[in-house]
């Protein structure tokens, strides 16, 4: 296998953009990425797209060549990957495999979602399609409801509190307020977070990520060719995708994401690192409880200690292991299909020293965790300075 490097980054702002369509967002991110790596579209040898529900949200299918064609990428394999909220994490994983395996040298990976042209009730219904529609969804489960049931059980077994979850929201909003591309650049207080409108008890609106439009793109190449594109390559040290049951009621223990644990084990092994070595991370905080559980599943803390770890400030910008310096899905926004590649961009920005007000001092080894559904897909990636 060849070593792989990220040599270009491109992101749109995340937000609610009434005048933007899906394709224009994806094209903007892709063009910014190619410009960042100083390449023309004709050099791209394959296009990997992550998108969850374009056909449902905007009525467009065959999305990969639809976007590639608009960018001037022509005559190459263009493929869409769908893995719920891990769609572009999955696209990235498979793109890395194609470069590592020698099939392609210059690969563009883009994630995109256009969600805000639908009502919140309709978005809730479309998102629920990532659950088991013959069981839990038929009974009335939404994604907030599934994660609310996860939160309830985690509270019951480990004593996790609403304050623990609110601490994640407060921290991610504080970070997102410093991110010029974030959807909701608003600082919130613990009191506000606790008094939020209930969505699915015990989760309030402040425990839930945002419904956003947006796109993100990265260009990957073999590490040995990275200097042709950038003087700040970021190395893909390890990446792994794993799966679990789709239905929440089919999982033995819902206080842990088994797919995250197995993906992390593989990614750590590939990178030759341990959880202890990871200095900072972008974690999939689709709901605040999901960030707490991820810190446990990734081995940053022992099982059940994720809540107190967040409340103590260890995951803040000045903490021992900063998490979601971008603002996370909670504040940066969660255009579902763009999230996985967006996380890779945000890790790489830190490693390149381009994170502005959010810039960390110790940031040469970072991890991204991208979760699909209630844990049926997980992608864990370890990036490092080259």
């Amino acid at each position: 296998m060849r070593d792989v490097a990220v040599v270009g980054l491109g992101k749109t702002a995340f937000g609610a953009f009434a005048d933007r369509d899906l394709r224009s967002l994806a094209v903007e991110a892709g063009q910014k990425c190619l410009a960042d790596a100083h390449v023309t579209p004709s050099k791209v040898e394959a296009f990997y797209l992550g998108n969850f529900a374009g056909p449902s949200f905007v009525g467009q299918n065959h999305l990969a060549p639809y976007i590639a064609g608009a960018m001037g990428i022509d005559g190459v394999p263009c493929t869409r990957f769908e893995a719920a909220c891990a769609s572009s994490g999955s696209a990235f994983y498979h793109a890395v495999a194609s470069v590592a395996g020698g099939f392609n040298d210059v690969v563009l990976v883009t994630g995109v979602e256009k969600m805000t042209s639908q009502t919140t009730a309709k978005v809730t219904e479309i998102l629920a399609g990532a659950g088991d529609t013959s069981g839990e969804v038929r009974a009335g489960a939404t994604f907030p409801a599934l994660f609310a049931m996860i939160a309830r059980r985690h509270m019951y077994e480990y004593g996790t509190t609403r304050e623990h979850m609110a601490a994640v929201a407060v921290k991610n909003h504080a970070n997102g307020a410093k991110n010029p591309l974030a959807h909701m650049r608003k600082v919130i207080t613990m009191e506000q977070a606790l008094a939020g409108k209930p969505i699915a008890e015990p989760l309030t609106v402040y425990d839930c990520s945002l419904i956003s439009d947006g796109a993100a793109a990265v260009l990957i190449v073999p590490l040995e060719r990275a200097s042709e594109f950038t003087d700040k390559p970021v190395r893909v040290l390890g990446t792994a995708q794993t799966s679990d049951q789709v239905a929440l009621d089919a999982k033995d223990d819902i206080t842990t994401f088994r797919a995250v644990r197995t993906a992390a084990e593989k990614a750590y092994k590939m990178a030759g690192v341990t959880a202890h070595d990871i200095q900072f991370a972008e974690l999939h905080d689709c709901f605040t409880i999901a960030e707490i559980i991820a810190t446990e599943d990734l081995g940053f803390v022992k099982k059940g200690e994720g809540g107190p770890y967040a409340l103590a400030g260890h995951t803040g910008l000045k903490g021992e292991r900063p998490i979601n310096t971008s603002g996370g899905l909670k504040s940066k926004g969660h255009p579902v299909g763009a999230t996985g590649v967006g996380q890779i961009c945000d890790l790489a920005l830190q490693i390149r020293g381009e994170a502005g007000e959010r810039q960390l001092d110790r940031c040469w080894l970072g991890l991204a965790e991208n979760l699909g559904g209630s844990g049926a897909t997980a992608v864990v990636t370890v990036l490092g300075a080259a």
Partner: protein, 73 residues
């Protein structure tokens, strides 16, 4: 009569389009006495039901359009 224990639960306030008229409603994952788990709706108080918590014993009441409704014993 099918019975089981509440493994976890939530009360849904923000419902998907097709269940908007039912909100707020309680949803639970029940560990069945016979083994396995199932996601069910809990009957509201107005229909011989009422809110349940983790550990409560519940039993099947009826199916409506293929959706199992359960209530507290």
């Amino acid at each position: 009569m099918k019975t089981g224990l509440v493994y976890t639960e939530t009360v849904v306030h923000a419902a998907p389009e097709q269940f908007a008229a039912d909100a707020p409603y309680q949803l639970a994952i029940v560990s069945l006495q016979e083994g396995g788990r199932v996601t069910v709706r809990i009957l509201p108080e107005s229909q011989r039901g009422g809110r349940v918590q983790i550990g409560d014993t519940v039993e099947w009441a009826e199916d409506r359009n293929g959706v199992p409704f359960w209530h507290k014993v």
